[in-house]
Symmetry: C2
Subunit: 255 residues, 2 copies
Amino acid sequence: MKILLSNDDGINAAGIQALREAMETVGEVVIVAPDRPKSASGHGITVHKPLRVDEIRYSNSSTKGYAVNGTPSDCVKLALEGLLTKRPDIVVSGINFGPNLGTDVLYSGTVSAALEGVIHGIPSIAVSLASYEKEDYTLAARAAIQVVKAVVEKGLPDETLLNINVPAVPEKEIKGITVTKLGKRIYKNTFEKRKDPRGRDYYWMAGEAVDLAGDPDTDINAVKRNEISVTPIVFDITNYQLIKKLQEWNLSLEG
Amino acid sequence: MKILLSNDDGINAAGIQALREAMETVGEVVIVAPDRPKSASGHGITVHKPLRVDEIRYSNSSTKGYAVNGTPSDCVKLALEGLLTKRPDIVVSGINFGPNLGTDVLYSGTVSAALEGVIHGIPSIAVSLASYEKEDYTLAARAAIQVVKAVVEKGLPDETLLNINVPAVPEKEIKGITVTKLGKRIYKNTFEKRKDPRGRDYYWMAGEAVDLAGDPDTDINAVKRNEISVTPIVFDITNYQLIKKLQEWNLSLEG
């Protein structure tokens, strides 16, 4: 099995190294990841400057790494269209340090790397550790192995990736793996307005996440219950239900 | 009617100025947009540096503009959570110079600005001129006026924006306004591998878009037929159909 890894915390992050070691137990691994942290880069791509690639070797491993001065999407795109000679069987992005839950997945570089795999017709998953504090990837890596094996065995529909969030708690507190839907998360008091030393205003993004209660079967609520959350995400974002209704608007240039 | 404008081509782009003039005929306008072009920025947000805001005035107009050193998402977020004292009735993003069709909307800064409006519960639309050559926004601005009026009158469901692409042809060749779904677009020969003056490799994103034929009712095909395309886009990207099937996988940490 050929496995392409990427992430948005950068190729030197502990999370992608834990993922590499886990994936080396199930297949042939190659890493193409940003050369530095690219969190909250969304699904941006780099069109206005050249991309540089530096090769990286790992001790006690035949895995090759490529550090790219681009976004997570750039990395997977470049891997699949330029760097790799063989098409991978699966793209795995992560393990992200911090959750990628609910509305936030729209901003997630981790998810965007997996999305790029899906756009290229390759089954893809994104894996995140749902904690900003405790950087222990052991369980998340084990969950990734299980999901990767299942995905390669059973396949995924076109245009769909799996987004996995693993609670940062000891194994005995984990309540299993739950299939979820995306929850909703809003931010309160997002911007702090400050004055710089010269008296000019500036704004800094801050604020705290507020999870809207929502249904029990959201990813946010599953992680709160110490369940490992697996959410199927689709990239055809057409609102099909609305098409017929909009047709009845009878829009025209004349009004 | 209070209208918030943004874009990803930057506050000085001709497209947002054409949009401003059009929107001033139907409501009270404020612009919060990037201080420079931010194309293909996806839904990125800026968390690691402060955001600066510069006020801009326009001749013969009471519209206020704010230039922000951030992404389109940053601009709308900052407008709604920091800068504006009144909540707008609608967010309009554009008019983008170049199409935002099919798979490409996932990378679009123009669409991401509208998405940020939707996340905040405000009806939002994105408007693009489907040409990289002829920068005449007259028809696109007129289409925007009609859609804005319809949206404010009829409303949109939660979590949905409208993505509008206007063919760059004379009015007499326009075949009306069609409600569409997102098409699929792939890129061929995306990366050019070159050598720099010092003999080091670099990669530059290039390649040509190849539209997969698909159904006649896609946005891509509508624009080819010289129809103005209106696509409803939803930001709950959960693949609901797949949830039940995934539950049958019976995933566990043990495998």
